[in-house]
Amino acid sequence: MQVLFKVIRQKQNTAPSVQTYPLDVDPENTVLQGLNRIKWELDGSLAFRKNCRNTICGSCAMRINGRSALACKEKVKNELMNELAISAAKLPEITVAPMGNMPVIKDLVVDMSRFWEHLEAVEPYVSTQARAVPEREFLQTPEQRSRLNQSGNCIMCGACYSECNAREVNPDFVGPHALAKAQRMVEDSRDTDTEARLEEYNKGTQGVWGCTRCYLCNAVCPMGVEPMDRIGEVKQQILERKDAQDSRPVRHRKVFIDLVKQGGWLDERKFALLVVSNTLRDLRGLVSLAPLGLRMLASGKFPLRFEPSQGTKEVRSLIEAVQRQNSQTSDK
């Protein structure tokens, strides 16, 4: 079938432009096969990364029809099903663009230096002590190994990093790929640096608290790593060890659950006061809330009262029962 490949092309430090290549392709072909044919038959100057053709090496990640994906994994026919704007009058189109959050070197090739530096920042290696080869083999139970399954599938393609909303506004945020790897290190029974790692990943917003839970990493990951859920597992480990005075992100989580225990629903006024001003201990925090409070009062938006859920008692005892069960499991 006839398909138009619209490729966003760019040279370093110049504005991007669209180049359209008409191609007669088998709908069963992958997008990568299409790009290869363009390069071999139509335009040898088109630049893109590729290697294994088999969803293993992670080289050919790019934005296909608006989201980051592996060109060797996505089939032409599926892309055309996704293409909602097909009209009878024109040929079906597939738009291919370079990944985001990384500068373009040429066409679909991006500079991934920061991606690799950010991975390095989480010390993505099992600790040196644990790597000392024992007399016999390392022993790990199937259950211990299973905690590494999902993050272990990562092929470092960059799709998650490319879409990450937090990375876009926070250049220090190490990104979903690095934090999924961090989870793999924290959960590895052989690693001896768990506590030091958790301190590191707990810092500021470069680590786990920088994640804004936009779910884009989960949505685009071609390997089912679900980095956002792995980030959540690192947060669980931190929250188990820290109290509300540790930091505002930790307090945010602790106060949230406490308030639901009190009222079934969240009382937003108390939440803001307790989290941001730390029960009036953080005066700068308190002052930062004042304009919002006044503005909401002025617009009639400020909730003057809070009505607890009629199921508050049940919810409180349910949450407490879950907390008891969880603490028994973590003591084991």
């Binding site: 029809n65 608006g66 989201r67 996704n82 909602l84 909303n165 937090a166 876009e168 506004v169 917003t205 608290w209 920088g210 804004t212 839970r213 936009c214 779910y215 884009l216 989960n218 949505a219 959540g232 947060k235 669980q236 929250l239 505002r248 945010h252 989580r253 949230f256 659950i257 639901v260 079934g264 629903w265 969240l266 937003e268 006024r269 803001a272 989290v275 941001v276 930062s288 304009p291 919002l292 503005r295 909401m296 617009s299 009639g300 938006k301 400020f302 909730p303 809070f306 009629q310 199921g311 049940e314 919810v315 005892s317 349910l318 949450i319 029962a321 879950v322 907390q323 069960q325 969880n326």
Partner: protein, 302 residues
């Protein structure tokens, strides 16, 4: 219009009972105008907005299994009007339904906890749906179109979906998560013109607003500015948490991105109810931080 009356177990969520009371009002006004009956779940609890899960998966599952069981006991689908509530409770429901077959021991653990604390147990017998999906699917877009008494033809609307509505559940009933059209289809049904811009499927920044305000408001501000540049008269969102960051924090967003913005942000039911002829004072349109007056003036509504 659907042949029999639509009924839902209505899960109001925290924000519509607090800082976005206008959403509570407008959902009530819209469903009344459409003849949709809501039975409010007075004993329900906060879904956790993704925060419970950071404490433990069991906490998120148990509290929301209880919420879903409340709707099950009335033999009604659970209705949300918040992208975040929908994503969280909808995902718990789809996962627990799956676990009934694949991990029955986990379901037993949850129901054990629920029974021990005198709560109803989870049966996986209902569904969890958002007001937007009710309009599109259950009520039907053509039926909605027929009920429009005030064409919003002057209005250019920029949808802001909210992450959880698009990406928290494994499967969506009406949308491709990367190219959603359900909000835009509602806009067209009420005579308004959809405005497309990158931010419509992105994060508003709310989850990190309490501790990373600059990053959070940069997200909000950038999306609002893009919508303005795409010539939008207003944003419309099916998520009150997005509304908090886009409307209530818009003055902070202006400071962070150093641009004047002033774009009104409407809740989905406010927009639709206006097209059905509901009076603005029934919709809390005066309870916004960014004035909605320009929208009303453009529509010639008083």
């Amino acid at each position: 219009m659907p042949s029999k009356m639509l009924q839902y177990a209505y899960y109001p969520g925290c924000v519509a009972q607090g800082a976005c009371h206008e959403l509570y009002l407008s959902t009530a006004a819209l469903t009344q105008a459409l003849g949709i009956e809501l039975l409010e779940l007075k004993k329900a609890a906060c879904c956790g907005s993704g925060t419970y899960k950071e404490d433990s998966q069991l906490l998120e599952d148990s509290v929301n299994a209880r919420n879903i069981a409340l709707a099950e006991s009335q033999n009604l689908p659970l209705l949300t009007h918040c992208s975040t509530c929908q994503g969280v409770i909808g995902h718990v429901d789809e996962r627990l339904k799956d676990y009934q077959r694949t991990h029955p021991a986990y379901i037993e653990q949850i129901n054990g906890l629920l029974e021990q604390e005198s709560c109803l147990s989870y049966g996986g017998s209902t569904s969890v749906t958002h007001l937007l999906w009710v309009l599109i699917g259950d009520y039907g877009i053509e039926a909605l179109q027929e009920r429009v008494t005030r064409q919003l033809s002057e209005l250019k609307c920029a949808a802001f979906y909210g992450c959880y509505l698009l990406r928290a559940q494994k499967s969506l009933p009406y949308d491709d998560p990367f190219h959603p059209e359900s909000m835009e289809n509602v806009f067209r049904a009420v005579g308004a013109t959809p405005v497309y811009y990158r931010g419509r499927t992105q994060c508003c920044g709310w989850p990190i607003a309490s501790y990373a305000p600059t990053q959070s408001f940069t997200m909000a501000g950038t999306h609002i500015q893009e919508a303005i540049e795409a010539d939008a008269d207003c944003m419309v969102t099916p998520c009150p948490l997005c509304h908090l960051n886009l409307d209530s924090r818009q003055p902070e967003a202006e400071k962070v991105i150093e641009r004047q913005l002033g774009l009104p942000v409407l809740h989905l039911p406010q927009l639709v109810a206006l097209a059905l002829g509901v009076k603005p004072d029934k919709l809390g349109l005066d309870q916004h931080v960014v004035s909605t007056q320009p929208v009303l003036e453009k529509l010639g509504v008083r």
